[in-house]
Amino acid sequence: MKRPEPVQQVKHRRDTALTTLVNAVPYAGFLGIAFERHGDELTAVLPYDEKLIGNPVLPALHGGVIASFLEVAAIIELSWAMLWDELESGRLSPESMAENLPRLPKTIDFTVDYLRTGLPRDAYARARVNRSGRRYASVHVEAWQDNRARLFAQATGHFLMPQRNDG
């Protein structure tokens, strides 16, 4: 029987691939968005920053920040799901991915539902790929701040998948 791959090697491969993917999107860096990973599950994290405010009187996060955060979370999740099998099977290495960045899905439409005011503190988001075909994908995203069950925004988006050369 084949010995399981050493855990450090598995983590290194997955973390390197995720970092490469996220770092390739300048706008995610501009907003300060980071991703935490548990196995294949991703959580997007938006650390609070003064520049993210839209209404200084309340104060509240800008609606555009919330929409951006959700769209970044959706695209990274969808890309991650698209690349996962290739990375795990060894058909794609994080190194070759860094040299030749994969094409990202393109947003067709994106609908944001603003449920509560975005408070001036960190926000989290998790996206779920509800359907992913060869050409189109549908993704739902939920965002919260203090309580996972109290969403402050959610969104659904449709995406055009990039053509992959694996058949």
Binding site: A24, V25, P26, Y27, G29, F30, L31, E50, K51, L52, I53, G54, N55, P56, A60, L61, H62, G63, G64, V65, A67, S68, F69, L70, E71, V72, I75, L101, R103, L104, K106, T107, I108, D109, F110, T111, V112, D113, Y114, T117
Partner: protein
Amino acid sequence: MSKPDTTDFINALPFARALGMQLEQIGAGEAQISMLWDARFIGDPATGVIHGGAVSALMDTCGGAAVMSYPGALTTATIDLRIDYMRAATPGQRITARAQCYHVTRRVAFVRATAHDEDSENPVATATGAFTFDRKEGSA
């Protein structure tokens, strides 16, 4: 629409300032806001195209500005916003959004918006949204 005091409006919104937005026209439930292309806003590194989220932020700000310019408006917040991305905005070009409150009830403003780059004939994106509408006391 009148020529507004453009800097105050944007300066009051830290994120609009961070994206370098410029208010060009506002009044009677309509607004026009633009932003320059910036490498920090890129969403697709292969093409240099700006991230959809930055276009959303522009549309949302423009929609909110249109609502605030409607007679009697006191405050507003976005209830929902749907953006349709018709084509990639050309890298390097300014993006301009125009928003209009096409219907206002006692509590809700319905907004439509379009965004285009320097090719004003072909929109980059269109949006529809519902915004909360709080009136000043005494206004109808």
